[in-house]
């Protein structure tokens, strides 16, 4: 076919058939770094390039395959893909049609875990400020776990030994498999709705990351964070961490440890009760001692030493008051004497005797004092009083001075 004339379509179609016919290219594993990643929101297909230091290749992952991976691919992420190589005839570009993608280096679950952890942490679900304190003496301890596992037995044993006062309320759930997350979420919500416990233990025994996966599911993590009842998370062994642990108010390394965190120890409580009783007794003894000392002080004081001391004290007070009263009295008398003197002076100045001394006389008739000429008639007898005595006389005539000045005679 050295000299055939081909259309572009025929050429691309031919090349495609060559690629599709190559057995090796039907299933290849390629590792590289993701770039130009596009998650086509409408179709759900992923479009990306894979590259290494020297080359780049286009790739596509259709929705059916893309929806199966748990992590979200990102630019710069190193991945291992499995797929077939073929040609996209319209652009003449060959590309990898990806069936599966794994993060290179870490497992995909691990990556999904990290990504979800970061997203939920950004939302503040793991904030220390959200953590509620676990009650010291819980009356009802709720447990969300498998009814058949060792977890329940461990918790039960620990509580029987440490704090049998509590009531253990179990909400049995599946702890792995596709239904687990939904059941665990529902159980946490039910405890909250009914306020059926003072503290919750949510957990399961150890297992692989896949086994523990329900405790990483977003609905479970959110239910734990939203729980008004404090939650103690006890998933797997000490080395296993789940997102549930981060959202919980306390994380216990094992189910037994969770029970220990949930309840105080009977033996320790007994000791603490003894201590309290001792403290009370000591405090009361101190109180009695203090009162005895005070009594002693009072007894030895002066008033207790001499019974008359109080009387003396009161007599002194009485004397003092009497003195005050006396001086107040003297003061009042003096002030009134002064007032009297002033009034007497005024009275003296107004005395008619003083007027007579200056040469005036007081006339009086049968009707009393005669202070006006008009009061006296010719022939009346008047009595004139002087300073040194009086005379009797008769009116011979009178002259009245009217206001306009002209005297006239009657």
């Amino acid at each position: 076919m050295s000299s055939l004339l081909l259309t572009v379509s025929q050429l691309n179609s031919y090349i495609k058939s060559l690629l599709d016919g190559d057995r090796h290219l039907q299933s290849v594993y390629v590792c590289g770094e993701i770039s130009n990643f596009v998650n086509h929101y409408r179709s759900g297909h992923f479009y990306l390039s894979l590259k290494d230091d020297g080359a780049v290749v286009q790739a596509v992952m259709f929705r059916s395959a893309a929806s199966r991976i748990k992590f979200t691919p990102q630019n710069g992420m190193k991945v291992l893909v499995r797929g077939r190589v073929s040609l996209f005839e319209r652009s003449g570009q060959y590309q990898i049609y990806i069936d599966d993608m794994q993060p290179d280096g870490v497992g995909s679950l691990q990556l999904a875990f990290e990504q979800r952890k970061e997203a939920l942490a950004r939302e503040g679900l793991f904030d220390a400020a959200r953590k509620r304190p676990v009650p010291r003496y819980p009356a009802r301890i709720g447990v969300v776990t498998s009814p058949t596992g060792a977890v329940l037995q461990d918790i039960r044993n620990v509580l029987t030994r440490r704090y049998p006062l509590a009531q253990l309320i179990l909400c049995p759930v599946l702890v792995q498999g596709s239904e687990a997350a939904g059941q665990i979420t529902a159980a946490i919500r039910r405890f909250n709705e009914r306020q059926a416990a003072d503290v919750l233990i949510v957990g399961r025994g150890g297992g692989s990351m896949e086994d523990l996966w329900a405790f990483n599911e977003e609905i479970v993590v959110r239910a734990v964070a939203a729980s008004r009842i404090p939650v103690i998370s006890a998933v797997g062994h000490e080395t296993d961490f789940t997102l549930c642990d981060f959202a919980a108010d306390l994380r216990a390394p094992t189910p037994s440890a969770a029970a220990e965190l949930a309840a105080p120890d009977r033996g320790e409580l007994h000791l603490s009760l003894l201590e309290k009783q001792t403290a009370m007794r000591r405090a009361l003894q101190g109180r009695v001692e203090e009162n005895r000392r005070r009594l002693l002080t009072i007894r030895q004081s002066r008033s207790m030493a001499s019974p008359l001391y109080g009387v003396e004290l009161r007599r002194m007070k009485l004397d003092y008051r009497a003195g005050q009263l006396k001086s107040a009295f003297v003061h009042t008398v003096r002030r009134q004497a002064q007032t009297f003197g002033t009034l007497a002076g005024k009275l003296d100045a107004l005395s008619p005797l003083k007027v007579l001394a200056r040469g005036y006389a007081i006339a009086s008739g049968e009707q009393g004092l005669v202070t006006k000429a008009s009061q006296a008639q010719e022939g009346d007898s008047l009595r004139l009083k002087f300073m040194d005595g009086s005379v009797s006389c008769r009116v011979i005539s009178r002259e009245i001075v009217v206001p306009d000045g002209e005297p006239h005679r009657f």
């Binding site: 009650p135 009531q167 179990l170 405890f191 059926a196 009370m280 009361l284």
Partner: protein, 72 residues
């Protein structure tokens, strides 16, 4: 005091110990507190001694939890 919860008793007991240790209450009041505290401590100790773990299952339906549980 018969109906008192363990938690409430412990809380009151702590209060009493604190009050007595402050030593501000008059002697007569202190004596009353001491008496109350001693009773509470005895009640708590008795409760601890006699307690038996009860296990119940949270029922599906809203309402009281089932009481089918057994004692440990």
């Amino acid at each position: 005091m018969a109906k008192m919860t363990f938690e409430a008793a412990m809380k009151r007991l702590d209060e009493i110990v604190a009050l007595l240790e402050q030593g501000e209450a008059p002697l007569e009041k202190s004596l009353k507190l001491f008496e109350e505290g001693t009773k509470l401590a005895q009640f708590c100790d008795e409760t601890l001694k006699n307690a038996q773990l009860r296990i119940e299952e949270l029922s599906e339906e809203p309402g009281e939890p089932d009481t089918e549980g057994t004692e440990a």
